[in-house]
Symmetry: C2
Subunit: 830 residues, 2 copies
């Protein structure tokens, strides 16, 4: 027989009984703990609770508990005078412990306020962190031990920008106080005197190039940075880093999760941490472990402002599909203790268990209006208070199940769609999860963009395995209209990528057939088995010059295909200088040189940092050398330093960074590379060229049979440079907001993709497409023949219809001048 147990906090040794509540009723909005200058309003969503306690901790760790006096709907609330920013607190919730009904209340567990803006300390493994008693998460007994000694504390923060009014009405401008007194600003960092929400670059989707990076890994080994800034928000905003990003030509940095996270207890017990940090504990608090100062909020804001100042947007990878509490066997840290079934999806027929479509033990219940509100409030906070410019939603299918099947009109997506603040930022879905029907590439509604996993798979197959068909490559290169051209979506719905944090970096992708994840401690059982990678003759490092030559060409082919393709390219940080993980394709727990970027000496230094036109150059974010680290933060710094970084297994390619930067510059110069409309093909005639035409190597326009060939040997594409006649919406080749004023010009581009091993002869298109071709790029040239200077002053020209030899594993880009147009380089035109 089942017993419903409502554990009494008094039964927990060491936990004080609740004080007589001195709280006023307060308000049910806003949620969280809000300081008003003389005290705090506390509002917590816990619909199933019988009582909620607001627990204050003094400097000696002594706890004082105040019961929230009011309840309205599912919101418990109260007001406590005298509490100031910097105050440590937590929550405890009373209610039934009845796993069979999905209720797991346990006031012995100190809970993190889901709305806290700041978290101090981290999780330590101890049996007391679990809510279930007797080691049995399916049993009827809660665990009576107080978890407070082992879990983080929330911290009361000062007023946000919204409460204070806009920065313009405030004398001091930037420097939003996070913890401590107003005016403590960004903790001593040199800011820009501007709030990051006030200097957004506002890059159109059409112009966007994303650079995916980990805050810690990007600079942990950056030699230009003072040691205290390495691996921090302040380090990311350092002039040397900004200079590199500007040289690459990227327009947005997409950060792996920066929400406060904790590592899974099982991982901690193995002596590792969750370095990637897709394990969020607090959706509003910047992770304190990445802060060089004791003010993560101000430091994060200063970082964003510094990036904005050089024209780079900030996109956050956000993990709202699950939380750090894991499965029913995990610790009770926050949401589980506030209202298990409101916040998580439980199995309807056995509410003791979670419905896990994330592979992470739980799934947030986005069918609940309370959870939708939590997520929307969090998103708005990062936009308005922290200044970020967009989000990449991890396992986004899990957010749009209604309740089981994916629904593009699911309530969370609808609430985001209806929000005027979120309507202004970039929204990117990782369009899959691990549940039934989870693969939804192309299934999200406008205005969402999506990680195009199909692009990754096809382009890897083309270059590494020679197994992709012509049509598949053609669709990927031209914007994946087969996936995204519905409902009025635009080509920028496709986030094209070849590599990302998850899987092989680019160097390993061309150097390993198999994953080598032994260091993760799971016997190489973890990580994706299907990598579409190739070692091209030998697994891993080699000094065989023939193998290295192939790897170099294939790598260049992959990254060139990425940056030529219609859609939004995303680069993985470090790929541009040959970062390797030594064959590890799942380095989530490698907080060491396996993951950290090993900056080549020729790429460091702050030279040539100029902002985009009209944007004032940055002063850069520099930090104090001797700032004390955040109190109570353990974790990353405590892990043993790694012994070495893996050298580039594809061999050093000093031109690789130049290739990336040059292709970015080419995208910037050529509107057809940033098309806002999908291609529609068609017949060409003199003076009226189809927007895209596909050719065989012999110069003939492809037939249907050619297009459906099962393997790509050589694919030649001509894209027209002039505006295409047709409907009004097609008259703008760029198609982006604000890019309409780009001059159209007569010259088009020709791409020659030749992933095949052998050299081949390619006949270039003649009339009506081209009278003359200027070679801009041949990726087979060891030194890249002066690229990207060739964009402005081409070195080699060919007559339309002329044949040339194309080396194996290479890409050519040519400018095609149609008959009747001047053959002089476009950049020399007036």
């Amino acid at each position: 027989m089942k017993t419903t147990v409502s554990p009494d906090i008094a039964a927990s040794p060491g936990v004080p009984a609740p004080t007589a509540s001195g709280l006023a009723p307060g308000c049910a909005v806003p949620l969280g703990v809000t300081w008003d200058g003389s005290g705090v309003n506390i509002a917590v969503v816990a619909p199933g609770a019988e009582a909620v306690d607001f627990c204050l901790f003094d400097a000696d760790g002594r706890e004082t508990r105040h019961r929230l006096p009011e309840r309205d709907g599912g919101v418990w609330h109260g007001y406590l005078a005298g509490v100031r920013p910097g105050q440590r607190y937590g929550l405890r919730a009373h209610g039934p412990y009845d796993p069979e009904r999905g209720q797991r209340y346990n006031p012995a567990k100190l809970l993190v306020d889901p709305y806290t803006r700041s978290v101090a300390g981290t999780l330590r493994t101890d049996p007391a962190i679990y809510g279930f008693g007797g080691g049995d998460p399916y049993g009827f007994e809660p665990d009576p031990r107080d978890s407070a000694p082992f879990v983080p504390r929330c911290v009361v923060t000062g007023p946000g920008r919204a409460q204070r009014g806009s920065a313009g009405t405030r004398e001091s401008g930037f420097g939003d106080p996070g913890i401590g007194d107003p005016g403590s600003g960004s903790g001593g960092l040199t800011g820009h005197g501007v709030h990051p929400a006030d200097n957004r670059p506002t890059i159109p989707w059409s112009d966007t190039i994303i650079y995916e990076a980990h805050v810690r890994g990007l600079t942990k080994r950056h030699p230009d940075l003072p040691p205290r800034l390495r691996g921090t928000y302040a380090g990311l905003g350092h002039p040397s880093v900004l200079a590199h990003l500007r040289r690459l030509g990227v327009t947005a940095i997409e950060l792996l999760p920066v929400h406060t996270s904790v590592s899974e207890p099982a991982l901690l017990e193995r002596g590792k941490i969750n370095y990637w940090a897709y394990n969020t504990l607090a959706f509003f608090a910047p992770h304190a472990g990445y802060a060089a100062t004791d003010d993560p909020i101000g430091e994060f804001q200063a970082m964003v402002a510094a990036l904005h100042a050089v024209g780079i947007e900030v996109i956050l990878d956000v993990v709202y599909n699950h939380s750090a509490e894991g499965s029913e066997r995990g610790p009770t840290l926050s949401l589980r203790g506030l209202d298990n079934t409101t916040y998580y999806r439980v199995e309807p027929m056995d509410p003791r268990r979670y419905r896990d479509v994330t592979g992470c033990g739980n799934t947030l219940n986005t069918s609940s209006p309370h959870v939708v509100r939590l997520i929307c409030d969090s998103l708005r906070y990062w936009v308005t208070e922290m200044g970020v410019d967009g989000f990449r939603f991890d396992l986004a299918t899990a957010l749009a199940r209604n309740p089981d099947a994916f629904d593009p009109a699911a309530s969370l997506l609808t609430a985001i769609h209806a929000d005027p603040i979120l309507a202004t930022v970039k929204l990117i879905a990782e369009p899959w999860d691990v549940g039934w029907g989870g693969y939804q590439v192309g299934g999200f509604p406008a205005p969402w963009a999506e990680w195009n996993g199909r692009f990754r798979d096809t382009v890897r197959d083309v270059w590494n395995r020679y197994t992709s068909g012509v049509a598949d490559l053609g669709y990927r290169v031209s914007g994946s209209s087969d996936l995204f051209e519905h409902g009025g979506r635009r080509p920028w719905a496709s986030i094209n990528f070849v590599t990302a944090h998850d899987g092989f970096p680019l160097a390993d992708l061309v150097s390993y057939n198999e994953k080598h994840n032994e260091d993760n401690g799971e016997g190489n059982r973890d990580g994706e088995a299907d990598n579409r990678s190739a070692n091209h003759g030998m697994e891993g490092a080699t000094d065989d010059p023939a193998i290295l030559a192939i790897r170099r060409r294939v790598r260049r082919g992959l990254i060139t295909t990425l940056l030529l393709s219609t859609g939004v390219p995303m680069l993985l940080a470090g790929d541009e200088f040959g970062r390797s993980q030594g064959g590890n394709n799942n380095a989530y727990c490698q907080d060491n040189a396996v993951s950290w970027l090993d900056w080549p000496t020729d790429l460091v230094g702050p030279e040539d940092v100029t902002g985009p036109e009209g944007v004032t150059g940055p002063e850069g974010v520099t930090g104090p050398e001797d700032v004390t680290g955040p109190e109570g933060v353990t974790g990353p710094e405590d892990v043993a330093e790694p012994d070495h970084a893996y050298p580039d297994p594809a061999g050093p390619d000093p031109a690789l960074c130049r290739l990336v930067g040059g292709l970015a510059a080419l995208r910037s110069a050529e509107p057809v590379l940033r098309r806002g409309r999908f291609f529609h093909g068609g017949q060409s005639a003199p003076g009226r060229l189809a927007d895209i035409t596909w050719f065989r190597a012999d110069g003939a326009v492809m037939s249907v049979a050619d297009w459906n060939a099962p393997q790509v040997e050589t694919l030649v594409a001509h894209v027209a440079g002039s505006p295409v006649a047709g409907s009004p919406v097609d008259e703008d080749p760029a198609g982006g907001r604000g890019t309409h004023d780009l001059p159209a010009h007569g010259a088009g581009l020709v791409y020659v993709f030749h992933p095949d091993r052998g050299d081949t002869v390619v006949t270039l298109p003649g009339a009506p497409w081209a009278a003359r071709h200027d070679l801009l790029l041949n990726t087979a040239d060891d030194d890249l023949a002066g690229f990207p200077a060739t964009v402005a002053v081409p070195g080699t020209s060919y007559v339309g219809g002329e044949s040339l030899t194309v080396l194996g594993h290479s890409v050519l880009v040519l400018r095609a001048h149609p008959p009747g147009t001047a053959a002089s380089p476009r950049c020399g035109d007036p």
Copy 2:
């Protein structure tokens, strides 16, 4: 065989061909037409359209069409320089006319921008307003005639408050320009120099008393108002009206729809109009027909600011469940022409037809994220720009069908829940529609309040028909916990009412057995048949003093029950001075003295207008005497004046207003009348009284059998005045936000409800409930025995346990002093 026809606008005589588009791409946000000082951005949701034209009209009515050049997702957009506020415009959309697929594009029809802030002109009946050809809405042919001569125009407006920044950053402060140049302000009205969003009274739900009124009907016959202001926004803000509302003690005025509406063509053809105006054409534009000036926006804002200044909130009755386009047989005016299936629910098996759960021909498709966004944007606009404080959602069940059954987590409700602006205003559902499973009283989630139709039915039954059981009356009087006490909802979830715009006014409710709707022109077939009314001896007007005496007592009993009951009372304007509709219980088309309030001479005049403490009294809104009416507005003014108003069929009751005002004052003085917690009953003991105790007339505590008696003869209730011991949340008798500081005192209240015809003897509760009772109110006293002065200084006292005679059809209210407390009146206490 079916044909898909895409009508060419060139085929329509008189409609110019599109000009070469000079539009820049513009932005997809914000939606609507937005002036930026040098031109307008146009953004229109029309996912299924092939093209959308922005059509400008000059002063001579000549049309210039500009095709929108861009599309992103379902949003068509463009930017046109040089357009200024005041410009008249409309939209035309091109796409398939294919009713079998639910597509009804017809560019011959000029469409209203769903986001327009201002509408000029109104609808005229003509065959050209219909989109379907050959008189057949189910056929395959569109109608080619241009509708422009017969439909209203949108008007470009100046920047809103959000675009300008807050009022504090603007020198001129209040006076948001609507139409015309910035600075035209409220069109000559004397404002308060304050924006209505800046002087909100912010009344807690617990203190709220609502007064339902029609903008036009409230003042159309008000003798104190200059004739030009009668029936207008400015008139509603007149000091004489404000004085009456203050005297009544109401805290919110709930306005019948003020969104721009048009009358149904069938009604216009009968020479009538839709006076109630539950037939919205434009969800952002205040109805111009209610404006005394040519600036409806500024005039509306000034009205709200004036009400706020005397401490009265403004709640709008909003109709998002259907639109003015009616069924598939209705005219094509806006949404139908932009995207029929996005905006409306169509029958899945026959998309030619609408799924109509509103009884109004169509149902807005709130399953579409675009529609959710439209509604949320509209709501936010009325809060932030127009300053209103809450909404009453007409037929709200229709808004929460997902897609067929009611779902409290439906995406619209969730999006509203997740919105930080909408979280701060009052949300009231009319919790039913006419579809399957539509009756959902009690089914809405917190923080929604609901019209408690059960309260209306029960209280009418009790007083008019003697057919309600004791328990039912007990639940209604004590907050309807049976309906609303779930999910942490509070008693203010129940909006209690006896009468509303729909149905008999209070005078008719006690004077007519049957409806008398002949004047509506439908042979008395329209209107509700089940009115739970009674004529008490003779149908309608009578001079029989016995009948009039009963009607007077019953009316007093009804309104006293309403104002004593836990929950939020709602009064119908005019009931306090005996307004009659002559037995018409569906006066929606009676724009005449049947509907307009006939103000008694003793209630007019601006004396005694003082704001609540801390609020500066109003200057009042006065208007120019000779302002020219808005151009092109026809409708209300053109309808023939009525010959007379119906006199009060229950006989004049000069004390009735005083009864209402006195009961409002009693609610204000007695926290137990504004309880924030539901009653839970229980056993009483000396010094520890149950929160509520029910007694029989003989003074015995009710048994279960008494409670379940099928008919109420006499019901006596004692409510405890002191805080009730128990959980912390019960310690606040008022329970409202911000009302915690009200002093608790020892005295409780005793209500004696005696709806029965005959006189009876009632024994008052003795110990432990009361040692002494002070009589505050006996509704059977003709002159009400000095009420409400008796609240402060009671005239009659009784000993606990004493018996007294209670006359038929009456209510008594007594203050009950428990043993050991002082018997002196509370208001005399220090």
